[in-house]
Amino acid sequence: MTILVLADRAGAAVSQPTRSAVAAAQQIGGEVHVLVLGQDGAEAAAKLPGVAKVLVAAGNDHALAEPAAALLVALAPGYTHLLAPGSAMGKNIMPRVAALLDVQVISDVAGVEGADTFRRFIYAGNALATVKTSDATKVMTVRAASFDPVAAEGGSAAIEPAPAAEDPGVSSFVGAEIAKLERPELTAARIVVSGGRAMGSADNFKILEGVADKLGAAIGASRAAVDAGYAPNDMQVGQTGKIVAPELYIAFGISGAIQHLAGMKDSKVIVAVNKDEEAPIFQVADYGLVGDVFKVIPELEAELGKK
């Protein structure tokens, strides 16, 4: 078995979800190669423990799906499994690859039972399915929260150029608005502090920053908070946002809809602050505090300042 993992584009580093995908590949077994789009990140990928080879593909710096899928299809004959993290990039590219190979993609794999048998959540995390594929090449994305990432250092893989693949020329990159990260990345953070509709406005939402700074935490949001414009879309946690599994997740003024829980209920410790003691979020919280966020957040910031 030889497995190819498509790496997220993450500048000179390798994203944590990519390292989780490498961990999933190692659970499947066999030799693991990593494919990097663009020159950045190849050296970091070569340092991942247990990676035998890094392939570098020049020319598709924005990871456009059409040329990326063409490249993966060209590489596919050498591999039993093609993996990618379940990031926006992985989800954009891998189903396209699968269809070109006439196989059914397996999205968001949460467990490896064997080389052809995998576990994944369905219905917003309310059910866990074990599926066995009959396809020759297995194409899948990996739910990062379900696999402890491999270490960032320790390996020394060979770096080779990937063969050139043809760009179908039907799409082009126009521009991007990517927020500069002042905090840990949501899916990689050890602590996540999230706000919901209760925050009331974009200005009020900012009071979470004080607590996040004290804890070295990333900031997340419910869909209601994002839709109302209190927080940018990339902060959304849930079924259709990011899936996080930090050591500590603190939900401020979030009711606990199943779609939100789908994105955070694997967190090790969950804290909920809500003024409604009946809020469903308390059913999954290890520590619940019934109270007003506007009172609790400043108090918490002050308390965390004391040692």
């Binding site: 997220d8 924005h62 456009l64 799906a65 059409e66 926006a88 990039m89 989800k91 954009n92 189903p95 396209r96 699968a98 269809a99 196989v103 059914q104 993609v105 999205s107 968001d108 959540f121 369905i122 219905y123 917003a124 309310n126 059910a127 866990l128 074990t130 599926v131 066995k132 594929t133 009959s134 039907v170 799409s171 990159f173 991007a176 608005e177 990517i178 990260l181 602590i191 869909r223 994002v226 839709d227 940018p232 879309n233 990339d234 079924q239 259709t240 500590l248 199943i258 090790k268 969950i270 003691e277 919280a285 290890d286 520590y287 619940g288 505090l289 609790v296 108090e299 918490l300 965390l304």
Partner: protein, 248 residues
């Protein structure tokens, strides 16, 4: 420009689904069914393009049981012009759905297929990308803004923010949550929708074998979290996080 909008019949998003005791799937008997929420957004976007004069005709397609007619009717009531039901009982995976849609695209020649990014039952997030692959068309996935000009410009929700791509037409666009807010169909439009035509075909008519590639070995209830304790104050909370949970 003609637009094809695939709409899936799924368990309503408000239903708390229950896993069947025999581990073969989830309970769907006597459960409220609706149009997949992302597909409502896709229909809405298509209707807006028609209202702007960009689109000329909207065809809603569903692959599913006879009852999926209801979801096609909903699309018609929102403003789609006609419907096609590919009648099939049982699970159809994204690959098979994409193959059937490809056959319908060959018949209907739309310039744009606007669909949901994800079905909230299988949570696959795959069909649009797969259809684009089979057709050799470009894809604008997770769209939060769509501008049709020469080709089509799609703003996409990606990790860390937004990205805009330009696609040649014909193209596939998959809708994310913030593309728009779908309208409620008015009563007169619901009445009008009853007279709009729905054609029914079978997978075999489209030359597609709907057999799944994945065998579901079992479906289980995920591990349940136990509700913990309520704390009385911020001080107590911090104390517990430091000494009991040891996470800060």
């Amino acid at each position: 420009m003609k637009i094809l909008v695939p709409v899936k019949r799924v368990v309503d998003y408000n239903v708390k689904v229950r896993v069947k005791a025999d581990g073969t799937g989830v309970e769907t008997a006597n459960v409220k069914m609706s149009m997949n929420p992302f597909d409502e957004i896709a229909v809405e976007e298509a209707v807006r393009l028609k209202e702007k004069g960009t689109a000329t005709e909207i065809v809603a397609v569903s692959i599913g049981p006879a009852a999926a007619q209801e979801q096609i009717r909903t699309a018609l009531a929102m403003g789609a012009d006609r419907g096609i039901l590919v009648e099939h009982d049982g699970i159809v995976e994204p690959l098979a759905v994409a193959k059937m849609l490809k056959a319908l695209v060959a018949k209907e020649s739309p310039q744009l297929v606007l669909m949901g990014k994800q079905a909230i039952d299988d949570d696959m997030n795959a069909t649009g990308q797969m259809l684009a692959a089979l057709l050799g068309w470009p894809q604008g996935t997770f769209a939060s803004k769509v501008e049709v000009a020469d080709g089509i410009k799609v703003t996409r929700e990606v990790d860390g923010g937004l990205e805009t791509v330009a696609l040649k037409l014909p193209a596939i666009v998959t809708a994310d949550l913030r593309l728009n807010e779908p309208r409620y169909a008015s009563l007169p439009n619901i009445m009008k929708a009853r007279k709009k035509p729905i054609e029914t075909v079978k997978p075999a008519d489209l030359g597609v074998d709907p057999a799944p590639r994945l065998t579901v070995l079992k479906v289980e209830e995920p591990p349940k979290r136990q509700a913990g304790v309520k704390v009385g104050s911020v001080q107590e909370l911090v104390e517990k996080l430091r000494t009991e949970a040891k996470v800060i």
